[in-house]
Symmetry: C2
Subunit: 337 residues, 2 copies
DNA sequence: GACTGGCACTCCAAGTTGCCGAGTGCCAGG
DNA sequence: CCTGGCACTCGGCAACTTGGAGTGCCAGTC
């Protein structure tokens, strides 16, 4: 009961601070929220909350601001779900419906998510590893050069040039094309090693080099760490919230230009919306920010991540439901494909 | 002779201001550059330069800073070429040599250019319109859905899904594939309208719908305004130079997220390095910045643009030669393909 | 035991003042 | 045409003051 009010105070502090971005004091709290007790009582509660590490004072004689731990408690125990209005859902659906191809879907999603959350948005392309091969095309570029074009059932298309160790005549190329294509079409990319492992052995000796390099390129293309692509948008939103980041936004922008960093941010997404607050974040330069992310995919399987990066004092309920909604629509689009 | 010294003064002002980012006064000028006259003389010259609009005072009793017109004069008449060192050239070559495909080439170029100029870098993908078709692949996705994959001789690969008006059987698809492929392979994309215009007429009546939609998708894919892609990088450099932009960097970041804006920036590139200074810039939100851009391509023809966006008080000679060098290497890589 | 009003205390933010120095324009003389 | 000198301007900095928001604590009340 007492405990209950303290949590109510914490919630009120988080909400006020997110709304105003200014330390909130005991007096303002009782005025803005009908807590039914006096400011002195609130002060006691605040002192307790501070002892427990949920809030902090930027300096003596200032109001309190939530700590990362405070936000964590808010997200875990206090934030209700904030359903999106029908109009919003419709807007999302409309916006994504006009996409012409996968690139377009991803690009539109990034724009949309950045716009509705007013944060930096991330959308990952469906992972190749989780996909099956719809089609593999092998195109000759020159005597010793081929282009592999891999089309996945998720709509993703990857290309890769291959330099052959020796010229390959038309007949041999045909053989190579037929055998490789047959081996992988309809199969899961993650099984390439098994499917293609000893393919070269059944070819004439002088063609094995070519087969080997094609096979290794295919396997490399679908390597977990290499194949992931993430599109980023809404970086201008960082600048608008500049005051948010005590320091400059430069390191944040820099971190977000690293693919590796983005991969870590969306690395362990699941069907649930996950929230990483401040220092919970694995990337050092982003420890002043929070990451809200989730996965999307066909049916049960998660094939990629989607999320946003923003200041720790963001509107968590609203952001979470936006991210969730966009992921839902992305899943739907994949399904329709 | 007098005129000559005035120009020397202008050059000195530009150089000092670019180096220090602080208004430069007459005294500092004579000290740092051996101009051989007294500060009073310089003051007279400065007053004249101000009258002519080349420099301005942020406020009375402050030093002078160059105006856009001043930079323009500097770039046109004063800036020498600043050749890159052999080591730098080698570094560029090495950096770009490891690329595995076109995406990689473009991505690496952006990173490289952003890094060496410390500005925001732009690299455009080779324009489809200026390319010829190396290969066109038509893949079935479902009864009524096809995927077109267009591979250009520049290494560019475009994909597009097509919804057919009616199911197409295997035989008809084969016919369609053969005829369309034959019509475009080896041809210039900009001639698609001529090449494909009346292709549908020679098909059986019930297949014409499918042919028409494939043809129109192809033509749409190579439409001038739609097909252009530009990759952007180094936005963190904007934040580092923040003081540079009197106002916030937000509108700049926002503008740079618009493809349309980027296209305008790289729209009219030629073989020469062009410089747009401040208000010369067509995009309103970028009138506090300068754009240095040039084209690259195979042999004589320019197939795409490359450039940077930065504060007006940038190191023009250095930036111009960096942009030029990267464009040169991009051209070379295209040639080798 | 929980809550409240009151009080002394702290400390940031914002405004005020005064001064220094860099920079200018102009002028008379070489 | 250049120069040294001089009076003047004005932004920036530092020191200082003040107002107010906020706190912690304590004695009193229900």
């Amino acid at each position: 009961m007492l405990e209950e009010r303290r949590l109510a105070v914490l919630r009120a502090i988080v909400e006020d601070y997110v709304a105003t971005r200014e330390p909130v004091g005991s007096k303002a709290l009782v005025e803005r929220h009908g807590l039914g007790v006096s400011s002195a009582t609130i002060r006691n509660d605040m002192a307790a909350l501070e002892d427990e590490g949920y809030i902090a004072q930027p300096h003596t004689s200032a109001g309190r601001i939530p700590t990362d731990l405070g936000y964590r408690a808010f997200v875990d125990r206090l934030a209700g779900v904030k359903p999106m209005s029908a109009a919003e859902r419709r807007a999302i659906a409309n916006f994504l419906a006009g996409a012409v191809d996968l690139d377009d879907v991803v690009a539109r999603s990034v724009r949309l998510l950045a716009q509705i959350t007013r944060q930096v948005a991330l959308v990952q392309y469906p992972s190749l590893v989780q996909s099956t091969v719809r089609h593999l095309e092998i195109v000759r570029i020159s005597d010793t050069r081929l282009l592999l074009v891999l089309i996945a059932d998720t709509g993703r298309v990857e290309q890769r040039a291959v330099d052959l160790p020796a010229p390959l005549d038309e007949e041999a190329l045909g053989r190579l094309r037929q055998r490789v294509t047959e081996a992988v079409t309809g199969q899961r990319c993650e099984d390439f090693a098994v499917l293609l492992g000893d393919l070269a052995d059944s070819f004439p000796r002088d063609e094995r080099g070519a087969v080997a390099v094609v096979v290794s390129t295919l396997m490399e293309t679908t390597l977990d760490t290499v194949e992931q692509r993430i599109m980023l948008g809404g970086t201008a939103n960082l600048a608008r919230n500049r005051d948010a980041f005590t320091v400059s936004i430069e390191p944040v922008l820099e971190a977000l230009e690293e693919q590796v960093v983005l991969l870590r941010l969306l690395g362990e997404v699941s069907g649930e919306v996950s929230v990483r607050i401040g220092h919970e974040n694995p990337v050092e330069d982003l420890q002043a920010t929070s990451v809200v992310a989730t996965g999307y995919g066909r049916g049960e399987s998660v094939v990629a991540g989607v999320g946003i990066v923003g200041p720790t004092h963001m509107d968590y309920p609203g952001t979470m439901s936006s991210v969730h909604a966009v992921a839902q629509y992305l899943s739907r689009i994949l399904d329709e494909n």
